[in-house]
């Protein structure tokens, strides 16, 4: 009997980046993928996520090295610019390719 956890399967799904696979993070990555950079407010508007939710997902993406966060003050107000890193772009491309492969494999 196979005692592996479902997400430890050796099938194509195993190659899928679980950091990006979460829907909110995927949306953040996709939005940042199509622009050069965006600020926190713009991302909040586009994704529809709450500030806290967006912050925590961004922290995970930053920890993974996918997102670069630049903090600055504009007229004494905090301003955060966000951009995908080179690794982030590569990871997003790889994720899309991986998903495409997986869906092709699973087609009857």
């Amino acid at each position: 009997m196979d005692e592996r956890e479902p997400n430890e399967s050796p099938r194509p799904a195993a190659g899928i980046d679980r950091i990006i696979h979460e829907p909110a993070r995927y949306l953040i990555m996709a939005t940042l993928y199509v622009v050069e950079s965006a600020d926190f407010l713009f991302l909040e508007r586009q994704t529809g996520l709450t500030k806290g939710n967006l912050s925590s997902h961004l922290a995970k993406l930053e920890a993974a090295g996918y997102v670069q966060i630049l903090k600055e003050f504009i007229q004494k107000k905090p301003h955060t610019m966000l951009a995908l890193t080179e690794d982030g772009r590569k990871a997003f491309d790889a994720y899309r390719q991986g998903m495409k492969r997986m869906l092709n494999v699973q087609e009857p």
């Binding site: 199509v34 622009v35 713009f42 709450t50 500030k51 912050s55 905090p78 899309r96």
Partner: protein
Amino acid sequence: MMEDKDIQAMEKKVFRATVNDGLADMRAGFILSLFAIAPLLSPTLGDFWSSAVWLPLYLAFDILLRLIKQRAVMPRMGTVRFGPARKARIRRTMMILLAANLVSFIAGLVFFLKFNKGFRPSVWTVSAGLALSLMVVFTAAGLMLQLNRFFIYGIGTAIATLAGEWLFQTGLASHHGYPAAFGLSSIVLIGIGVVVLMNFLHHHPVRTEGKDHGRA
């Protein structure tokens, strides 16, 4: 999972979100007002000054639109910088707009010089030329801004130009129908712009970056 076309659609959606604030509609409407006002002022101020007096008004309107963008729209929308593909697309469309304006200007100049030498083309030729120029300019603007309603503006103003000429021919409007056609077009475009802007402001309350995002 996103295909390439979905990525393109996503980029288009994100870009459109940054320009769909009604300000472009208002700007286009104000530019059209020149065609409505100049013919009315022409008998008293002459051809040059009837157009020239409009320029300071446009400058004031331009400053007002920039202030609205900076003070009301940006704090609600946020800031975004687009990639090289989008910048190249904007540059290409700007070139089309510039070329269309240049061709119209040269055509106008040639017409003016020939007119002074006794050349009298059909009024419908002039109206059709202007209608075509407006369609090209609005189409280019629609492509650049990815706003489909600009294509409708192009068709609408082209029809208005011809309708104005028809009203003039039937004695129902003055000055080849320009004040009526372009005055109405101008009011409609500025009105749509105001509605879009109000809608945007209503649905996007001001948000500032708070403590939560500081963790990011």
